[in-house]
C-alpha cells in the first residue's frame, strides 16, 4: 500500500513515526549541534545500520550473531582501502622507498601493492565490495551453519570465534592491513576533502539518507510474507519447514541482509571517523552492537536507531563526566534489557505512550480499533509495524469480500 499512495502512508501512524525520526535527524540535531557533536552523532548512526540488521536477524528470525563487527569491519576496511590508495599518490609518498603504496606497506618492506588491493583503485568496485564482501562471507558462514541446523548458542559462539580470528589475522598481517593501528590518515574521496567541517556535515546527511534507505528495505522485508515467515520460523520452525519452506534459505537470506546493512554502516563509519582499525571488529565491539538493538527493542527497526543513538550518546556522556561508572551502567543495561524490559524502548513506548496516542488516533483511524485485539503486549509498536498484517482495510482481502 506504500507504493500505491505514499502520501497516504505518511499520514498513517507508522508513517508519522518515520517522519518524526526524519525531523529529528535532518532538522533538529543539525540545528542544535555544532559540527563536532553532529559528527559524533553521525558516528553513532553508523552503528544503527548494524542494529537494524540485528533486529531482522536476531529479533525477527531468532539468529543471534555475536560477530556483526566482522561485517561492519569488512565494509569499513573496503572503504578505507579505497581512500588509503587515493591518499597514497606517488607524490604524497615520495619519501618512501616504494612511492605510491600505502605507508604501512612500505614500512613492512612491501615493494608492490598486494593483488587484492588493486581493484580498490576503482570507486565503483569499492561500493560493490562494501556490500558484496560482507554478504559473501555471511553467505558462506550461513550456508555452512544453517543447512546443518546450527543455531542458538552454537551459532553465537561460532560467530564470536570468527570475530576473534579476523581480529588476530588483521593485526598479524600488518603489511597488508595496517595491523593494530588500522588504516589511518584518510584524506579525500575522489578528490573531495572529507576532513573539513562542511564535508563532515554533508557526510552526516549522506549517512542519514543511507540509514533511511536501509530502514525502508528492512520495513519492506518485514511487511511482506517474507517477514511473516521469519517471525513464524522463530516460533515454529518445524511448522514452517512442513509448510514447504526451505528454512535454511530464509535464515541465510536474513543473515546476509544483516551483513549488508552492517557493511554499509562500516563504510559510513570510515568516511565519518576518517580511519578504520581492528578494534571495531573484535568480540567486545561486536557484542556491544547487540545491546544497541536490544535496548531499542529487538523487534523494532525504528527502535534500533534510537537504541544505537542513546547507548553511544550515554557512553561518551559518561566517559566525559564519570568514566568509572560507564562499565557498570553498560553491564546494568545488558542485564536490565534482558530481565526487566525484553522489548526495549519500543516495548515501553508501546505499553505507556501508545495508549495516549490511541485516544488521538481513535477519531480519524477507526481501523486501528479493529486491529487492537490482534496486538499483544509482546509486540513493540504493533500499530506501527504489525498493523499492515492485521488491518483488513489495508490488505486487499476484505475489499474482495465486500
Amino acid at each position: 500500500m506504500k507504493s500505491s499512495s505514499p502520501l497516504k502512508w505518511f499520514a498513517t501512524r507508522e508513517g508519522l513515526y518515520y517522519v518524526a525520526l526524519a525531523v529529528l535527524l535532518v532538522v533538529l540535531l543539525p540545528l542544535a549541534l555544532d559540527p563536532f557533536r553532529l559528527n559524533m552523532v553521525g558516528k553513532y548512526l553508523t552503528y544503527a545500520f548494524v542494529a537494524i540488521g540485528l533486529v531482522m536477524c536476531w529479533g525477527k528470525a531468532g539468529i543471534l550473531s555475536l560477530g556483526q563487527g566482522v561485517f561492519f569491519g569488512l565494509g569499513g576496511y573496503c572503504m578505507a582501502m579505497f581512500l588509503k590508495l587515493e591518499a597514497s599518490t606517488p607524490e604524497a609518498t615520495a619519501i618512501q622507498s616504494t612511492p605510491g603504496i600505502p605507508d604501512f606497506m612500505d614500512w613492512n618492506q612491501l615493494t608492490e601493492l598486494p593483488w587484492f588491493w588493486e581493484p580498490f583503485h576503482s570507486f565503483s568496485f569499492t561500493l560493490l565490495a562494501v556490500i558484496g564482501v560482507p554478504v559473501l562471507l555471511a553467505f558462506v558462514i550461513g550456508f555452512a551453519m544453517f543447512t546443518r541446523r546450527v543455531g542458538g548458542v552454537y551459532f553465537a559462539i561460532i560467530t564470536q570465534a570468527i570475530a576473534a580470528i579476523l581480529t588476530i589475522l588483521i593485526i598479524g598481517q600488518q603489511g597488508y592491513t595496517g595491523g593494530v593501528n588500522g588504516i589511518t590518515d584518510l584524506q579525500t574521496l575522489n578528490g573531495w576533502d572529507i576532513r573539513t567541517d562542511e564535508a563532515r556535515t554533508i557526510l552526516y546527511f549522506v549517512c542519514v539518507g543511507m540509514l533511511f534507505l536501509c530502514l525502508f528495505v528492512a520495513r519492506l522485508v518485514q511487511n511482506r510474507k517474507l517477514g511473516r515467515i521469519l517471525v513464524a520460523m522463530n516460533a515454529q520452525e518445524n511448522r514452517v519447514r512442513f509448510s514447504g519452506y526451505d528454512v535454511a534459505a530464509f535464515k541465510i537470506f536474513v543473515f546476509c541482509l544483516a551483513a549488508a546493512f552492517a557493511g554499509v554502516g562500516g563504510a559510513m563509519f570510515t568516511l565519518i571517523v576518517g580511519f578504520m582499525s581492528p578494534s571495531f571488529i573484535g568480540i567486545v565491539a561486536s557484542i556491544e552492537m547487540v545491546i544497541f538493538c536490544a535496548l531499542g527493542g529487538r523487534l523494532s527497526i525504528l527502535g534500533a536507531v534510537y537504541g544505537a543513538l542513546l547507548v553511544n550518546a550515554a557512553k561518551s556522556g559518561f566517559s566525559e563526566s564519570f568514566p568509572e561508572l560507564w562499565p557498570f551502567a553498560m553491564g546494568a543495561l545488558f542485564i536490565g534489557v534482558v530481565l526487566a524490559f525484553p522489548n526495549g524502548l519500543a516495548g515501553l513506548y508501546q505499553t505507556y505512550v501508545m495508549p495516549l496516542e490511541d485516544k488521538i488516533f481513535k477519531r480519524n483511524k477507526g481501523a486501528q480499533l479493529e486491529a487492537k485485539p490482534a496486538e499483544k503486549a509482546a509486540e513493540p509498536k504493533p500499530t506501527a509495524e504489525k498493523t499492515p498484517d492485521y488491518d483488513p482495510m489495508i490488505d486487499s482481502y476484505s475489499p474482495e469480500k465486500s
Binding site: N39, I171, G172, Q174, G179, T184, G274, F275, S319
Partner: protein, 423 residues
C-alpha cells in the same frame, strides 16, 4: 656537554625545586607579581593565531586514557605531565603566564582520541597537547593535529617511521633503544645469537626488524628465531621449548601487557634463571611499571634497554623522584614513559620562551637545538626531526622491582626515525 656540567645545571635548577611546596608557590607568586608589571609581553604579540592565551594564563590539553584497557599504562604519564605543569607554574609559568590545562579521556578508544583532539584544538584552542600513548592512538590523532596545525608532545618509546611537523616525540624511537643494547650485548656479554620474541603488533615487529638488520648485517651475528604471539596470549611453553632447542645467547623480548606476566612466570617456571644469563634476557618493553604486575622475583636478573630508570643516580632524577612521590604517594614507581611525559611541558616551555611566542609555527622554527638540562634522565636536546637526543641505558632488574643501571652510552644517541639500511 659533559656530565659534570649537567650535574651543575641540575643542582642550580634543583635548589628552587628542592624547597617545600609552600615556599615554592610563595616564590612563584612573588616572581609573578614582579614579572606582571615588567617582563610579560603583550598577548597580541605572543599569540597571533587565536590560541587560548590571556594576559596571565595559557591553556594546554592533556589527552590520555583514564578508562579502558590502556588507563593502567597512561595514568603515569598524566601524573608526570601535571607535575611538570605545577612546577612550571610555581617557577613563574611560561612567558609570565600560568598554565591551565583541559584534560580529556581517550578511553582507550582510537576514534575517541581523534574526537577529543579535535575538541581540544577547535573548541579549547589549546596551545599544546600532551598525550597519546599507543601508536594506534597517535596515528588516530595525527591527521587532526596536522589539519588544525596543533602540536602534540608524545611520550612513548615507539617504532619510529614517522616524523610529523606537528609532533614532538619525547620518547625514544626504535633505533635509539635497540642498536645500543644489541651492541652492548655483543661486546660486553659476547652474545653471538639472538632470539627475537614479541607481541604481535607494529612496535615489536618494527623493532625486531631493526634488531635483525643490525645483528645480521652490521654485526654479522646470528638470529636464531623470530616469534610473535597475539596480544593477551598467555601460553608460552612452546616458544620456551624452542628457545631451549635453539640455545640463543640472548632473548630479545618485546612482549607487552598481560602476556608479559604469563611469559616471565612461565620462563621462570621452566627452570630458566635469568641471573645466570644462560640465555640472557634483554627486553625493551618492561619498565618499572610493568614489573609491578609481573612480580620482581619473576624478572630478577633480566636486562632492559631504556633511556630512563627510576634508580638513575643524578641530582635531577633524585629531585624528580622526590617531587613525584610527594605529589602522588611513596608507593609510586616511575617508568621510562612517565619520565618522557614529564619532559613534554618543559620542552614546550623552553621552545615558547626561545620563540617568544605561543604560535605553533614560530615555535616549530625554534625546536632544533632546544635543550633541557634538568631532565631526570640527565640531559636531552631536540633534533631537527622532532625526536630527542638522549642516552640509552641498560638496567638489570632487581628482586625489589627496580633496575640497577649497568651501562649507559657515552654519547647521546641520535634519533633516526627512518634509519637507512634498517628498512
Amino acid at each position: 656537554m659533559d656530565t659534570t656540567d649537567q650535574a651543575a645545571n641540575g643542582r642550580s635548577f634543583g635548589k628552587g625545586l628542592g624547597l617545600k611546596k609552600s615556599l615554592m608557590t610563595l616564590a612563584a607568586s612573588v616572581m609573578l607579581a614582579t614579572s606582571a608589571q615588567a617582563a610579560v609581553p603583550a598577548t597580541a604579540e605572543v599569540n597571533t593565531t587565536g590560541l587560548a592565551v590571556t594576559d596571565d594564563t595559557v591553556t594546554v590539553g592533556i589527552l590520555h586514557s583514564i578508562t579502558g584497557t590502556m588507563a593502567i599504562s597512561e595514568i603515569g604519564s598524566v601524573q608526570a605531565e601535571k607535575l611538570a605543569i605545577d612546577q612550571i607554574n610555581a617557577s613563574g609559568g611560561v612567558l609570565g603566564r600560568q598554565i591551565e590545562f583541559v584534560q580529556e579521556d581517550g578511553a582507550s578508544d582510537w576514534p575517541t582520541f581523534a574526537e577529543k583532539s579535535r575538541k581540544l584544538l577547535r573548541q579549547d584552542n589549546v596551545a599544546a597537547i600532551f598525550g597519546a600513548w599507543t601508536s594506534a592512538s597517535r596515528k588516530a590523532v595525527l591527521p587532526v593535529i596536522e589539519q588544525y596545525n596543533g602540536m602534540l608532545y608524545y611520550p612513548t618509546f615507539y617504532e619510529g617511521l614517522e616524523q610529523s611537523p606537528n609532533v614532538v616525540y619525547t620518547g625514544q624511537e626504535a633505533t635509539q633503544q635497540i642498536l645500543a643494547s644489541i651492541d652492548w650485548a655483543a661486546e660486553t656479554k659476547g652474545a653471538k645469537s639472538f632470539y627475537l620474541l614479541g607481541s604481535d603488533y607494529i612496535w615489536p615487529r618494527t623493532s625486531n626488524k631493526i634488531a635483525r638488520k643490525h645483528i645480521e648485517d652490521k654485526l654479522g651475528l646470528k638470529v636464531s628465531g623470530e616469534e610473535y604471539y597475539p596480544l593477551g596470549h598467555t601460553q608460552f611453553n612452546s616458544v620456551i621449548n624452542k628457545i631451549k632447542l635453539r640455545k640463543p645467547d640472548v632473548i630479545f623480548a618485546s612482549v607487552v601487557g598481560g602476556s608479559n606476566v604469563a611469559f616471565y612466570k612461565q620462563m621462570k617456571a621452566a627452570g630458566i634463571d635469568f641471573t645466570d644469563e644462560k640465555p640472557l634476557l634483554l627486553t625493551i618493553s618492561v619498565t618499572e611499571d610493568e614489573i609491578r604486575g609481573i612480580g620482581g622475583e619473576n624478572v630478577d636478573g633480566i636486562y632492559a634497554s631504556m633511556k630512563y630508570f627510576q634508580s638513575l643516580d643524578n641530582p635531577n632524577n633524585k629531585e624528580f623522584v622526590a617531587a613525584f612521590k610527594e605529589a602522588y604517594g611513596d608507593d609510586m614507581v616511575i617508568g621510562d614513559v612517565t619520565q618522557a611525559a614529564y619532559l613534554g611541558p618543559w620542552l614546550w616551555k623552553a621552545a615558547v620562551e626561545k620563540a617568544g611566542s605561543f604560535d605553533i609555527d614560530k615555535i616549530r622554527e625554534e625546536f632544533a637545538g632546544i635543550e633541557f638540562t634538568k631532565a631526570p634522565e640527565g640531559y636531552v636536546r631536540i633534533h631537527e626531526n622532532h625526536h630527542l637526543w638522549s642516552k640509552t641505558r641498560i638496567g638489570q632488574a632487581q628482586p625489589d622491582g627496580q633496575y640497577k643501571v649497568v651501562y649507559e652510552t657515552e654519547e647521546l644517541m641520535e634519533p633516526d626515525p627512518f634509519p637507512e639500511g634498517y628498512q
